[in-house]
Amino acid sequence: MSNNIILQVEDLHTAFFTRKAVIRAVDGVSFFVREGETLGIVGESGCGKTVTGLSLMRLLPEPSGRIIGGKIIFDGRNLVELDKQQMRAYRGKMISMILQDPMTSLNPVYTIGDQISESVKLHQGLPDDMVEKEVISALRLLKIPAPEQRLNDYPFQLSGGMRQRVVGAIAMSCHPRLLIADEPTTALDATIQAQYIALFKDIQQKTNVGIIFITHDFGVVANMCQRVAVMYAGKIVETAPTSVIFKAPRHPYTAALINSVPRLDRSKDDRLDSIEGQPPSMANLPPGCRFAPRCTVVQDICRKQEPPEVKVGDEHSVSCWRVN
């Protein structure tokens, strides 16, 4: 892992404009990713993780979804300012994405060879025989057995784990510098999930790709990421190195999320801490700290004013009034 920052997101705001309301799905998010490093973005459904990922790829469902503020600095350029044509040179080539469900992200009527070669042809402009070589090397990178024979297979002929590897091969086919993986293991079985994570650690070592790993599972974070950003209701409430966040989480939401995961190394009679209630509706946010209605250590000020972000350690910052 080097110190070379490849992506810097500053105060990103993404909103959806509906007839009834403006929904600020991502509301002032800042983070960075280094070369060869994995950043985990963790949170419950609806907290803005996926929208953050889609914003980076500029794949929001326009015109209702738009980036309304902030910067996405990748390789010295602000991606927010690029027009559609310019963005195409980045998407799939420099930055690529893996989606959650391999059943729906592959086209059922094309062979996997066709689907992987699509981006290779588009971005690398290679002659046909070279394209096939690139495709096979992408399949090899993802450790798909007998890649030459798999080229002509259709997605339905592969198992769920193999399909997700094909999706990974598409993402890695143009040697991207940044990979956004949106819950890539959620649809997989436990042992296959472990295989997939080990595979990506290996790929990262070989290619030095920076990875943003979006997940709701702290177990996956522990296995895969060097740093974590915890999101709640469109904001990052805590970022820290993985080892720090498990030992000493500072935000009550982070602590509650970690404690609500049943762990094999704890006695079974411990009652699980659950977070009562549900995340707020993004169209109707509470004033002050967004976690206040569910927080067990809430104070008066939490309900009135939003907490500022405070640096509490090396690459560790928290937005909580308790920390001051």
Binding site: D189, T191, H216, F218, L257, K268, S274
Partner: protein, 326 residues
């Protein structure tokens, strides 16, 4: 003395694979192949394994949603596979209820919560509407849904709340056994804990038995008293939860446990070694000879591909099917 509520003995379910116009049978999918287990009163049995291991088929057999190829199910000591449909309808089905995995598809979106929860009462009892109405409110209260919720539709609730409603429906007839098929895997991590705590509370209150199907071992450990690890249609290890987690014997169990362990970055240098299985589960259409796990087992020897391992009892209520389990 353990009080057995339900016992499955050598359950077998083979599905025919047919081909062509005449639907000739060209093979059999051995979904479950000789599965035996017991569910004790007031206790939880978990079936664990990957997709295709036969967990859901076993649950369907218990719920009488699938007709078994062979084997028998004993409920309170009586072989229900010999009962006529009429007796099953009055004496078995109402007492064995189910909660499905996905709370988005297990409820009719056009019915109000009140009617969803009341449906088992309407079908199976002769209570008056007023009695049903009161019972529904009582049930919703048990699972932590406010009374106003009764007149709403499922889409107005979050996933966790819907799963609570599904639990209320399952409890409507005061069942003895509830089959929970992946009860929390469709929910957010923070909500899972709420539902698991609720299920445990209800179990203690009504002395319910649960049969839980899950693939996440940590969830299983928290919920269950007994665990059955399934692989390709068979139970490969079976035992008391704590015993099995502290002393896993089958290589597959060890790999599963390792896959669900939380390994912190600093642990990597230490002795905690993750076992990562290679390959995938073979097809149940044509299971491997000998031990069915040998194609993925790191400890496999010649004997494993030839002989089917016997059941080895190790300690109380803990057995394993492996040639070299120590």
């Amino acid at each position: 003395m353990a009080d057995t509520l339900l016992e499955g003995r050598d359950l077998v379910k083979h599905y025919p694979v047919t081909k062509g116009l005449l639907q000739r049978t060209i093979g059999w999918v051995r979904a479950i192949d000789g599965v035996s287990f017991t569910v004790e009163r007031g206790k939880t049995l978990s079936l664990v394994g990957e997709s295709g291991a036969g967990k859901t088929t076993t649950a369907k057999a218990v719920l009488l949603q699938e007709k078994l190829t062979s084997g028998s199910i004993f409920f309170e000591g009586q072989d229900i596979t010999k009962w006529p449909q009429s007796k099953l309808k009055t004496d078995y089905r109402p007492r064995v209820q189910a909660v499905q995995q996905n709370p988005w598809s297990s409820m009719n979106p056009r019915m109000r919560v009140r009617d969803i929860v009341a449906e088992p009462l309407v079908v199976n009892t002769k209570q008056t509407k007023q009695q049903n109405r009161n019972r529904v409110l009582e049930l919703l209260d048990q699972v932590g849904i406010a009374a106003e919720g009764a007149d709403r539709y499922p889409h107005e609730f979050s996933g966790g709340q819907r799963q609570r409603i599904a639990v209320a429906r399952a409890l409507a007839l005061n069942p003895s056994l509830v089959v929970l098929d992946e009860p929390v895997s469709a929910l957010d991590v923070s909500i899972r804990a709420q539902i698991m705590n609720l299920l445990k509370d209800l179990q203690a209150k009504y002395n319910l038995s649960y049969m839980v199907i899950a693939h996440n071992l940590a969830t299983v450990r928290y919920m269950s008293h007994t665990v059955a690890i399934m692989y390709l249609g068979q139970i490969v290890e079976y035992g008391d939860t704590e015993e099995l987690f502290n002393n896993p014997l089958h290589p597959y169990t060890k790999a599963l446990i390792s896959a669900s362990m939380l390994v912190l970055p600093e642990d990597e240098d230490r002795q905690i070694k993750q076992i990562i299985l290679t390959g995938e589960m073979p097809s149940p259409l044509n299971p491997p000879l000998g031990c069915r796990f040998h194609t993925r087992c790191s400890e496999a020897q010649d004997i494993c591909s030839q002989d089917i391992p016997e059941k080895h009892a190790v300690g109380q209520q803990h057995w394993v099917k492996c040639h070299h389990f120590d």
